[in-house]
Symmetry: C2
Subunit: 476 residues, 2 copies
């Protein structure tokens, strides 16, 4: 084979295949409603269709796309369907896909400022924009002692926050030689599973996570938090971390940040606020009450990849004291040393996260914000909340159903008054129909259906049809 | 505003803008050589060009792409240039970009099998393919007790491996209630900084990481490892984790896995093998010696996003005992429970990683493997190694230079015989020229230039030109 021969896709083929892929995605956007929302395959079914061995010779993109249609699509649960009401919104948009595509094409590393200055500076800039857009505390701005960074997920943000808390509590001894104090962390019993995961990863141990009781709206009881902290202190333990949640996964519970923050301040405990699911609502002034007291927090995150039309992954994580986070996560081997880092004039985002490498994720967020404008984002968030409130009113007016809690935002929790078995049957029937998809939780030990409204293509009509389907299904 | 009005990009606009973005990337691929490889901006320069406030109203994609050209491109260090020889290869390809684009378009979550079965099953399948392609031990196949998963980075893989090791050593007590034994970890003094980072994150503390000395080829000395373990055991400490490296960052050192593995086996220590940089070489039978003894390892990773034409992020992580990893990282809240998980017949990859959410990354890997075929991948890996060997021979033949170590694969380490200052000056002059980009390290306390060959568009001619430029630069 002559030296110039190569197997790469040339730019002409890339154009042709790229246009075809864009068209495929556009068609998917148009037709996504035609698929059953929940995949119907059995375990192992997809794998059984795939060739046992990898190909020795090059195959064509046309062959691959045939296989995508034939083998992959039956195994897709269509998160982008307007009839997807499960888990949480994970809404997507054209500008986000294109920003992410540009990131793939440039394929730069953002681990250091020096490895592509634009990757770092655009990110810092957009996260400052978001402080303004969500009216977050000034302390999270990069012009203060704080700043923002994009993480993959809220799980990772929680872990980073916990590590900073651990180091604060041990005066950075944990990093150096481990710790022998019993460090204690706190969250409500409705907090996300990632808090427990972080507690385990960071070496604190699950038994040192206190799950604080909640009130009727599934919000943490600050008085119970204060009592638990006092009890631990009396026992000679070291309270170091509280995670408050703005929008719990099960029911969208909103922990009261101000009293929690005051308790943390007076006990010198690191407060992280996990607003992964609901923080986006603060784009609209009328929903900013959810963040009341946030200026008392040490860190905060919310997920544009949930409810702000940005495809996964994109969690925005802010800290009030970036030096503390950086000191916690920084390591500087010789091969990463460079003049810009040494000058101290730049951020090296590898020191703000668990991994070293990072892609240029700010591009998609930049495109989304500019495409929609603040006005467009506000419009859609308001719509989702409004439709959810209407759905809740229909549930409330139908005495076959119980509305488990008044929904503050875009997640409606309800169940059949006839009990868990009937509710489970309804859930299974709805998901098996392929027409809509929703998921469940348990609230007050009772099986509860979660109806989350926030997908890009979800309009009032889809929610109306879903409600009709729910009624028809129980009527048999 | 009427209810039907919305701010979303419709599919017609998406087609138009998507085609334009594909064309932009194709043109970038064609013209990437025309940019200075290293960005020349000063700290703050990019931000100073960006508008202070986010837009209230929607902006056009055309305006955004003008800003990309004007504000972003000057701040890009061009990792995809054929003249990029810095850090490590991060090679990209058309099929990878298109697979990643498809992932963005489908925008499904792969946290559970049930959230999109194809996302999990294609990943398991492709990672089994890679066991075959790299001739890895059978124990890493999903049909045994092991299996593979895609992580974002090798840093995260190392952390997951360390956590499994910690739990094995403490019989899962660390997860439950923290640990009070002094757990000890080991790697060579050339291992990646992510080992130290993981040790800190997991709560072991940096002082409990032993940096084992290396031989003249910068490979870990197994006898020193054995001695260190014995010494720690005598002192009542608990050795729990060894990280061996296949291709160290500084110099491509290859730790001898067989003797290291035997030491680990006889001491019941978890062995993780970090082949992030060099594992890809095992696509070619003649390079598989780098993995000799790998069947003694508990886990292994390599990075297709470094040297296998797959855009970031894509680290392939394999374990021999998946139950141990899953038990370490698993948490099952009510809202994630589902029949498939309960059946035990499926993998839920959230239990194999730090975060909960995950994107459909197997698509790009599937496309890359099928586009190139095993034959195509082997061809390019061989070419990179061959060109690197030739470059090393030119360095060796020129008595102004010292070849610091015979390069086993595609990374050449060299310096001027006239000392660190002259070598630093050469590095600065080369990078400032904009014509090529390389980075440095220290080996045996002396400043050393690293010349990494592996970018997609790098051909022999680029390396020949680079060598000419290096010679011209020192000749003044």
């Amino acid at each position: 084979m002559p030296e110039t021969t190569n197997y790469h896709m040339n730019s002409e083929d890339f154009r042709k295949q790229g246009h075809a892929m864009i068209d495929w995605i556009a068609a998917y956007m148009d037709n996504v409603e035609s698929y059953p929302v929940m995949s119907r395959v059995e375990p192992g079914e997809i794998r059984s269709m795939l060739p046992k061995s990898p190909p020795l010779k090059s195959e064509s993109m046309e062959a691959m796309m045939r296989d995508v249609d034939e083998f992959i699509m039956p195994g897709i649960t269509h998160w982008q369907s307007p009839n997807f009401f499960g888990f949480f919104p994970a809404n997507n948009s054209g500008p986000s896909i294109l920003g992410d595509l540009l990131s793939s094409g440039l394929c730069v590393q953002g681990m250091l400022w020096a490895t592509s200055p634009a990757c770092t500076e655009l990110e810092t800039h957009i996260l400052d924009w978001l402080v303004y857009m969500l009216d977050l505390p000034e302390s999270f701005k990069s012009s203060t002692d704080g700043g923002g960074v994009i993480q993959d997920t809220a799980s990772s943000a929680t872990l980073c926050a916990l590590l900073a808390a651990r180091e604060r509590a041990t005066n950075f001894v944990a990093n150096e030689s481990g710790f022998d104090q019993t460090l204690i962390a706190y969250c409500s019993n409705q907090a996300h599973s990632s808090v427990e995961k972080a507690i385990k990863i960071a070496g604190l141990g699950k038994s040192n996570l206190r799950l604080i009781d909640v009130d009727d709206s599934f919000a943490m009881k600050p008085s119970d938090l204060a009592k638990a902290i006092d009890k631990d202190k009396v026992a000679g333990l070291v309270p170091c971390f509280v995670c408050a949640t703005v929008g719990t996964t099960s029911s969208n519970g909103l922990d009261p940040l101000r009293p929690i923050g005051e308790i943390c301040k007076s006990n010198n405990i690191f407060l992280h606020v996990d607003a992964a699911m609901s923080g986006t609502a603060a784009l609209c002034p009328e929903f900013r009450y959810i963040h009341d007291g946030l200026e008392l927090a040490d860190s905060y995150c919310f997920n544009p990849h949930k409810w702000m039309f940005t495809n996964f992954d994109c969690d925005c994580f802010f800290v009030a004291n970036r030096a503390e986070l950086i000191k916690t996560l920084s390591i500087l081997p010789e091969y990463l040393k460079n003049k810009a880092t040494e000058s101290g004039a730049v951020f090296d985002y590898r020191d703000w996260q668990i991994p070293l490498g990072r892609r240029f994720r700010a591009l998609k967020l930049w495109f989304v914000i500019r495409h929609y404008g603040i006005e467009g984002l506000q419009h859609h968030i308001r719509e989702h909340v409004k439709i959810a409130q209407d759905f809740a009113s229909w549930v409330k007016a139908d005495d076959r159903f119980e509305l488990v809690v008044d929904p503050p935002l875009n997640l409606v929790c309800f169940r059949l008054t006839t009990g868990d078995d009937a509710t489970q049957q309804l859930l299974d029937d709805l998901n098996d129909s392929g027409k809509i998809f929703l998921t469940h939780t348990k609230l007050n030990d009772k099986l509860t259906l979660r109806f989350a409204i926030g997908q890009t293509k979800t309009a009032r009509i889809h929610v109306e049809h879903a409600w009709q389907l729910i009624q028809q299904t129980i009527e048999g």
